[in-house]
């Protein structure tokens, strides 16, 4: 039986730092992919994910057990990603290096996989046309299968507002994909 988030948090707060590694393992995929969507480089995404988890560790004492852990963590990560995006223009020319590396990785990808990835690429491109919050909402709901309730907590909205926005976002996505002959 897996330990619940709250149990792990309690363990960490009692001084069992190793339990935090389990929290990182549990959520690193979601957080890393969130950071990747904001930074577009694996290098930055890895550094940002590390920063987020270190911040989470520092602020763990502020976590209220009344709320759910994942929305709390994701809200913190989302705010961090948004701040990072605002500041990214300050970064020096080093960014070019990493974006260049991403392109190199693309060219090295297996050609046979490209065909099957085309549909995903179109959806990813369509997702980019949504606002950041709508895109995150869609991905959290459908890719990471988080509940409407959790989304409501993360985006500070009512559950019906979340449903409405998801519905609109899917509509926007569909019309965007229609432009490239989806369905």
């Amino acid at each position: 039986m897996k330990n619940s988030d709250d149990t792990l948090v309690k363990n960490v707060l009692r001084g069992d730092t190793d339990s935090f590694a389990l929290i990182v393992d549990r959520y690193k995929v979601q957080i890393y992919n969130l950071m990747y969507r904001y930074s577009n480089t694996s290098e930055d995404a890895a550094d940002m994910t590390q920063d987020v988890f270190c911040r989470v560790f520092e602020r763990l004492s502020h976590y209220q057990h009344r709320e759910r852990f994942f929305p709390w963590l994701y809200t913190l990560a989302l705010n961090y990603a948004k701040d990072w995006a605002k500041k990214k223009h300050y970064h020096t020319r080093q960014l070019a290096q990493f974006s260049a590396e991403e392109r190199i990785n693309e060219t090295a990808s297996v050609h046979s996989a490209l065909e099957s990835d085309q549909e995903s690429d179109r959806i990813v491109a369509a997702l980019q046309t949504l606002t950041d919050d709508r895109r995150e909402m869609v991905l959290l709901r459908y890719r990471h299968e988080r509940s409407i309730k959790e989304l409501a907590e993360i985006f500070d909205l009512s559950e019906s507002a979340v449903k409405m926005r998801l519905h609109r976002a899917l509509g926007d996505l569909r019309s965007q994909l229609k432009k490239t002959d989806y369905g």
């Binding site: 039986m1 897996k2 330990n3 730092t17 190793d18 339990s19 935090f20 590694a21 990182v24 393992d25 690193k28 995929v29 890393y32 992919n33 694996s42 290098e43 995404a45 890895a46 550094d47 994910t49 590390q50 988890f53 270190c54 560790f57 520092e58 004492s61 502020h62 605002k86 500041k87 223009h89 300050y90 020096t92 020319r93 080093q94 070019a96 290096q97 974006s99 260049a100 392109r103 190199i104 090295a108 990835d117 549909e119 995903s120 959806i123 990813v124 991905l139 459908y142 890719r143 299968e145 409407i148 559950e159 449903k163 519905h167 899917l170 996505l173 569909r174 994909l177 989806y182 369905g183």
Partner: protein, 384 residues
């Protein structure tokens, strides 16, 4: 799971969304986070802040709140009657008038304003105007050319950016910042040969320059020049053992079955060690000791774990034993009192190396494997 109304097209789209590929998380991410956490100690001020900013449970009695309100109101009225009320003077709000680049008479002032604006959010166009002004007033200053280039880059004009760097390099052909940024510019535009040539100039001036070295490896990689790529990763790792780039370089190096450098898991951290140096007993002891320095320090700081040293020498058990004892001797000579926690094993077979996914990567006829043994209570079960 909550359900929303779906029609067939929507359901199809949702199905596609559910199967969107996710990016692979770096394999050492958890280790890196835990290493950062274990290495950072909470400063006193942070502890105080944590204490005062966390939610505290308090008991509340209305009478106390009423007393406080009464006290505040009383103080307010006493102050009102005892202090003369200062006359209120209407003030005109200051009018914001941005300085125009053309009004800047000295290149230094234009340069300073430009750099300041470059740091400010959303003022990159204005910053560029000042940086161009500085460059125009003093065209012989390579630093101004450099920052003009950065200004162009911030505005997405890579062609002009390159021209600024080239002009700066004419003035100072050995300027590392100018050469590095020019290299980045070429690399961004997939002009690999130009980028390579530029980075090589940087490395001729500063062989340990890590960004130029790393990007050189990338260029060789994309051009399929494996030997040169391997050499670049080796050179990069010689001076860079931490950070994501170091682990990425190591991963690529090891993928070519080159184990000159290896990562050893010690506690929660992965430490990159020059494995070749560790094996080479013809090298001075100090050089070999340097490779073990980080591990020895970690063992000293974390008294609860030990170090396992496993040596493989194919068909020569005696040589394997000798090498294992030699490594323990090296650790003992590090000056840290940890050798009693070092356990040795030796084998006369080659070491078989597996990749992360369990596939066989290769074998080494002579090798050293280091890892730490955590106490049982730290290896907690997470599921049953």
């Amino acid at each position: 799971m909550d359900n929303e109304p779906q029609n067939s097209t929507e359901a199809e789209l949702i199905k596609d969304l559910k199967s969107l590929p996710l990016n692979d998380v770096p394999h050492d991410l958890t280790d890196q986070v835990m290493a950062r956490i274990s290495s950072s100690r909470t400063p006193l001020l942070r502890s105080i802040w944590n204490y005062i900013s966390r939610t505290q449970s308090i008991s509340f009695r209305p009478i106390y709140a009423f007393s406080v309100i009464l006290l505040v109101c009383g103080a307010f009225y006493i102050g009102r009657f005892s202090q003369p009320v200062p006359p209120q003077v209407a003030t005109v709000p200051p009018v914001y008038s941005p300085v125009q680049p053309a009004l800047m008479e000295t290149p230094e002032s234009a340069y300073m304003v430009g750099r300041g604006l470059l740091q400010a959010d959303g003022s990159h166009e204005q910053a560029l105007a000042f940086l161009k002004r500085a460059s125009m007033l003093d065209p012989d200053n390579p630093e101004f050319a450099y920052w003009e280039g950065v200004g162009y880059w911030a505005n997405g004009d890579q062609e002009q950016e390159r021209q600024s760097y080239l002009r700066g390099i004419e003035l100072n052909p050995k300027s590392i910042p100018l050469l590095i940024n020019l290299g980045h510019n070429y690399l961004s535009n997939k002009r690999y040969q130009n980028a390579l040539h530029t980075y090589q100039k940087v490395l001729a001036i500063a062989p340990e320059e890590s960004v130029a070295r790393y990007n050189t490896g990338l260029i060789y990689r994309v051009q399929g020049m494996i030997d040169e790529e391997i050499y670049s990763w080796q050179m990069f790792l010689q001076n860079n053992r931490t950070g994501t780039r170091a682990f990425r370089a190591l991963q690529r190096l090891n993928a070519y079955n080159d184990f000159t450098f290896r990562a050893y898991t010690i506690g929660f951290r992965k430490i990159i060690v020059n494995h070749q140096t560790l094996l080479d007993d013809s090298l001075p002891e100090q050089i070999r000791l340097n490779e073990l320095e980080t591990i020895a320090s970690m063992l000293k700081d974390h008294t609860y774990f030990g170090l396992e040293v496993v040596v493989f020498v194919e068909n020569d058990l005696e040589a394997a034993k000798k090498r294992a004892i030699e490594i323990k001797h090296l650790i003992k000579n590090s000056g840290k009192d940890i050798s009693d926690r070092v356990k040795l094993s030796w084998f006369d077979v080659p070491e078989f190396i597996q990749s992360q996914n369990g596939k066989m990567e290769g074998s080494l006829s002579e090798s050293v494997l280091l890892f730490s043994q955590l106490p049982v209570n730290l290896n907690k079960e997470t599921s049953i």
